[in-house]
C-alpha cells in the first residue's frame, strides 16, 4: 500500500520531467496542429457566405416556380384546351364508334342485296335455248368460248353462198357478230360486277377496323374502285349502243334491199308483159 502511494506520488513528477525533456517537439507539434486544424463547419445562420448561398438558392427557387412553372402551366392549360377540343369536338370516341357500328349494319343490308341479286332467273324450257341461257347467265368469263356454238344452235347458221347473195351474207354475219359480242360482254360484265361486290365487301371490312386517320386512305381506295366500276359501266353502255346501232343499220339494210328488189321485180314484170317479137 505504501509502495503504491509512493508510485502515485512519483508519476506526476515523471510526466512533468518527460514534458520538459520534449518541450521543443511538443511546441512544434502544437504549432502544426494550430496551423492545420480542420476548419469548423460554418453555421447557416451566422456565416455570411451561407446566408448569401441561401438567398441565391431562394431566388432561383422563386424564379423557377414563377418563370418556368408559370410558363409550363400556361402551356399545359393551352394543351388541355387543345386536347379537350380534339376529343370532344373533332374526334369524339362515341361518334367514331357509332360510325363504325353503322358500317357493320350497312354491311348486313349489302349482304341482303347480294342475296336478292343472286336469285336464279333462268326461264328457258327447250334444251338448246336452256344451254344458251345457262351460258349467258353463268357470270363466268371462262364460258365465253362456248357462246358461239350454243348461239348457232338457237339462231341458226350462216347460209351458204348459194343460198344468199354476198350482200345478204354480210348483213347476216355482221348482225350475228354484234349480237354474240353483246352476249359475251354481258357475261364479262356480270363476272366483273361480282368481283366489284367482293372488293366492296373487303373494303367495308377494313373500314370497320379503321381509325379516323386511316379511313381516308381506305376511302381513296374505294374511290379508285368506283372509278374502275364507272369504266366498266361505260364499256357495257358502249356495247349496248353498238347493238342498237347494228339493229338500226339492219332495219335500214332491209329497206334498201326491199327497194332494190321492188325495182328489179318491176323491170322483170315489164319485160314479161312486153309483146314477143
Amino acid at each position: 500500500m505504501v509502495t503504491l502511494m509512493k508510485q502515485a506520488m512519483q508519476t506526476p513528477k515523471n510526466g512533468a520531467r518527460w514534458l520538459w525533456a520534449h518541450r521543443l517537439r511538443l511546441a512544434a507539434l502544437a504549432l502544426l496542429l494550430m496551423l492545420f486544424k480542420p476548419q469548423p463547419v460554418r453555421s447557416q445562420f451566422i456565416d455570411p457566405c451561407c446566408a448569401m448561398l441561401a438567398a441565391g438558392l431562394s431566388t432561383i427557387a422563386s424564379t423557377l416556380s414563377g418563370v418556368i412553372g408559370g410558363g409550363l402551366n400556361n402551356i399545359l392549360s393551352v394543351d388541355q384546351a387543345i386536347s379537350n377540343f380534339q376529343q370532344g369536338v373533332v374526334w369524339p370516341q362515341q361518334l367514331i364508334a357509332e360510325a363504325q357500328a353503322l358500317v357493320g349494319t350497312l354491311q348486313k343490308m349489302f349482304t341482303q342485296i347480294e342475296s336478292v341479286m343472286k336469285v336464279p332467273v333462268a326461264s328457258a324450257t327447250l334444251p338448246a335455248s336452256q344451254q344458251l341461257e345457262q351460258i349467258l347467265l353463268s357470270r363466268n368469263a371462262q364460258q365465253i368460248p362456248n357462246t358461239g356454238a350454243n348461239y348457232t344452235a338457237v339462231y341458226g347458221q350462216l347460209p351458204t353462198a348459194t343460198q344468199a347473195s354476198p350482200q345478204t351474207l354480210n348483213l347476216i354475219d355482221m348482225a350475228d357478230a354484234v349480237a354474240q359480242d353483246a352476249m359475251k360482254r354481258a357475261i364479262e360484265i356480270d363476272n366483273l360486277a361480282d368481283l366489284e361486290l367482293q372488293a366492296a365487301d373487303q373494303i367495308n371490312q377494313s373500314i370497320q377496323n379503321a381509325a379516323p386517320g386511316s379511313a381516308p386512305i381506305i376511302e381513296a381506295q374505294a374511290d379508285a374502285w368506283l372509278v374502275r366500276a364507272n369504266a366498266y359501266t361505260q364499256a357495257a353502255t358502249a356495247d349496248l349502243m353498238r347493238v342498237r346501232a347494228a339493229t338500226l343499220a339492219d332495219h335500214g339494210a332491209d329497206l334498201k334491199t326491199g327497194a332494190t328488189n321492188t325495182t328489179s321485180f318491176g323491170q322483170q314484170v315489164q319485160k314479161l308483159l312486153q309483146p314477143q317479137q
Partner: protein
C-alpha cells in the same frame, strides 16, 4: 483519415531521435497538409454563379417557354376558328337535318306513286308481278307471262327452229323482267342505306365523317355493280332481238333460194 494523419505526424515528431529529424518530419507534414487541403470557396464566385443561373432562367428559358406558349395558343386558335370551327360544324349538321326534312318525304312520295296502267285481269296481274319488287314469286311471273304472251307452240304447231327461237325470246324477256324485280328490291334497300348514312351524317363529327364517306363510296361501288348487272340483262335482250331478226333473214334467204330453184325447175322445158 485526417485523424490518422495527425496521429502519425505527432508520433513522428515525438519519436524523432535528433532535432534535425524532428524538423524534417514537421516540414514534410506541413507540406503534405498544404498540398492536400481543398481550396477555399470564395463567396463572390458563388454569387456570380447564382446570377448566371438566374440569367439563363429569365433569359433563354423564359423566352423559349413564352414562344412555345404563343405557338400552342396559335395552333389552338387555328384549330378552333379555322380548321374545325364549332359554329360551322353545327351549321353543317343542321343543313343535313334540314335537307332530310325538306327532301326525303316528298321524294319518297313521288317514287311511290302507283304506275299501274293495265285494265284487263290477266295483264293487271302480270303488271303487278312485274312491278312488286319481290323475288319470291318468279314462278307466278312465268305463268302470268304465258297467259298474256301465249304458251310455247307444240311440236305440231311449229318447226323445231321456230320453237327454239320463240323459247329463247321468251326466256330472255322473262330473265330481264326477273332481274328488274331483283334490282327494284335492291333499290329499296339501297335507298334505306342512303337514309341511314344521311341520318348518321346529321350528328357526325369531323373525325367520324371519313368512315361515312368511305362507306358511301363503297355503297356507290355496289350500285355501280347493280347497274352493270342491269346493263348486262339489257345487252342480252337487245342482242337477242338482233339475233331474232337475223334468224328471220336467214330463213328468208333460204326460202328465197328454195323458191327460185323451184321456179327454175318448173320453167325448164320438159325433155
Amino acid at each position: 483519415m485526417t485523424a490518422i494523419f495527425f496521429i502519425l505526424l505527432s508520433w513522428g515528431i515525438i519519436t524523432a531521435k535528433t532535432r534535425r529529424q524532428m524538423i524534417a518530419v514537421a516540414t514534410a507534414g506541413a507540406v503534405a497538409v498544404m498540398l492536400v487541403s481543398p481550396p477555399r470557396v470564395y463567396a463572390q464566385g458563388l454569387w456570380a454563379a447564382i446570377q448566371a443561373v438566374l440569367k439563363v432562367i429569365n433569359g433563354i428559358i423564359q423566352t423559349a417557354l413564352n414562344s412555345i406558349n404563343t405557338v400552342r395558343s396559335a395552333i389552338n386558335q387555328f384549330y378552333q376558328l379555322t380548321v374545325w370551327p364549332q359554329q360551322l360544324i353545327n351549321q353543317a349538321r343542321s343543313l343535313v337535318t334540314q335537307m332530310i326534312n325538306q327532301y326525303r318525304a316528298p321524294m319518297a312520295a313521288i317514287f311511290n306513286i302507283p304506275l299501274q296502267s293495265a285494265r284487263l285481269a290477266s295483264t293487271q296481274q302480270l303488271e303487278t308481278l312485274m312491278r312488286n319488287a319481290q323475288t319470291g314469286d318468279f314462278p307466278a311471273l312465268g305463268s302470268n307471262y304465258g297467259t298474256v304472251y301465249g304458251a310455247l307452240p307444240t311440236t305440231t304447231q311449229a318447226s323445231p327452229s321456230e320453237r327454239t327461237l320463240i323459247d329463247v325470246d321468251d326466256a330472255l324477256a322473262q330473265d330481264t323482267l326477273k332481274t328488274l324485280k331483283e334490282s327494284d328490291d335492291a333499290d329499296n334497300i339501297t335507298l334505306s342505306v342512303a337514309d341511314q348514312l344521311e341520318n348518321t351524317a346529321s350528328r357526325a363529327a369531323p373525325g367520324s365523317a371519313p368512315f361515312l364517306t368511305a362507306t358511301a363510296v363503297v355503297a356507290s361501288i355496289r350500285t355501280q355493280a347493280l347497274t352493270q348487272e342491269m346493263l348486262a340483262a339489257e345487252l342480252r335482250q337487245e342482242a337477242a332481238e338482233l339475233a331474232h331478226g337475223n334468224t328471220l333473214r336467214k330463213g328468208r334467204a333460204t326460202f328465197t333460194s328454195q323458191v327460185s330453184t323451184s321456179i327454175q325447175n318448173t320453167l325448164q322445158p320438159q325433155q
